[in-house]
């Protein structure tokens, strides 16, 4: 566990100090949530029903930006070989890196998401729900994003490949997260959609470490 803590702290430091960190993700997210309403005509009444959906699509796309950093740079500079011979198995390495990605990108996005969602037309009383669902969904984005980053290891234009691999995996949380907000905005309980969102995150937590570790081993050969 101490070794994993060492790795996790290193990952957080790399995420916060290097390019593709929280500022880039949050800036990109705010740009998207500003541009889409402008492109849609800027009519608040037209935006209100799709505000949750716009916010969630922007969250998903913003979460992709820094995924290439997760494994590709370690492969390029030889650190991945060192990491593979560490005290913890690669499956736990994937979890540690995904958790750091969540804290460095997912959590800051969850902080700014309520502001953007309210600007788009969601009722202010839903701000805590936006933040909570974005935080939960962000963990899923980080886990499946780590899987996509591992699958794209060593390929040319890995960043583009990550986006192609990961975006389909992001569809369920976008649907469930936006669904929870839509239900709450309509006066219904967001719990059913929220439960599906949590279930998807748990599914990702089981699959991503094993599949990601296998992809890393394959890339090292």
């Amino acid at each position: 566990m101490r070794a994993l803590l060492v790795l996790w702290r290193r990952e957080l430091a790399l995420a916060w100090s290097g390019g593709g960190g929280p500022l880039l993700a949050c800036g990109f997210f705010l740009c998207l949530t500003t541009l889409i309403p402008l492109a849609a005509g800027g009519d608040p009444a037209a935006l209100k029903p799709v505000a949750g959906g716009i916010a969630w699509v922007a969250l998903a796309v913003s979460s992709i930006l820094s995924l290439e950093r997760l494994f590709e740079r370690d492969l390029e500079d030889g650190a991945l070989d060192l990491i593979a011979l560490g005290l913890a198995p690669l499956e736990l390495v994937v979890i540690a890196k995904a958790k750091a990605q969540w804290l460095a990108v997912g959590a800051p996005l969850a902080l700014v998401a309520p502001l953007a969602a309210i600007t788009l037309g969601l009722p202010p009383m839903l701000a805590p729900l936006v933040g909570l669902t974005a935080l939960i969904g962000g963990l899923g984005f980080a886990l499946t994003g780590a899987l996509g980053a591992a699958l794209a290891l060593g390929s040319k234009r890995g960043g583009l490949l990550i986006a192609v691999v990961v975006l389909p995996l992001f569809i369920p949380p976008v649907v469930f997260g936006a669904g929870a907000l839509e239900r709450a905005a309509s006066g219904l309980s967001p719990a059913p959609a929220g439960a599906f969102l949590v279930a998807w995150v748990l599914f990702a937590a089981v699959v991503a470490p094993f599949a990601g570790a296998a992809a890393i081993r394959n890339a090292q050969g």
């Binding site: 290193r10 500079d77 060192l82 593979a84 050969g221």
Partner: protein
Amino acid sequence: MLTVSSLTLSRGERILFRDLNLTLASGEAVVLTGANGAGKTSLLRAVAGFIRPDAGAIAFADADPGEARARHLHWLGHLDGLKGARRARDELAFQARWQGADADGIAAAIALLALAPLLDLEVRQLSAGQRRRLAFARLVAAPRPIWLLDEPFSPLDARWREAIGLLMRSHLDRGGAVLAAVHDPLPIAARAVDLGAGR
């Protein structure tokens, strides 16, 4: 400590070598020689578990391969795994602790490799030789019995080749072993295994 039996290794369609047998005993250094492309680095990577052999077996004396790779092997390849934007102190702490070093081990490595004046510099500010010493420090800080080294001395000057040769000698005296791919001779006595001219 390490037994390689009837190993066949290929990269893509190219077979690097067939039926290679190799043993590495406690206190022994073995150097892999051969032309570029003979498979020296690939053999080291296979022992480290990064490459799956086409045939044959790699066995460790006191542990299954997974356990051996997590606790018994040190790997120092062409690439040092250091992040240019991080301070040398942080990179050393990560690399050494990730492989099981404690604070005393890290302090000893800093002293033996004269790293103290470099610790607050960013890795990108270090010369190639200084980077190699920094990467080598984790081998000293976290004791592991088998060192896998790929051209370990290439960026080092004569003084540091000799100093790290002494560290390797000390490692062997404590019962460790070294398997190294080299073009230039090691500064310690070592048994040579020639992988040939390559194919």
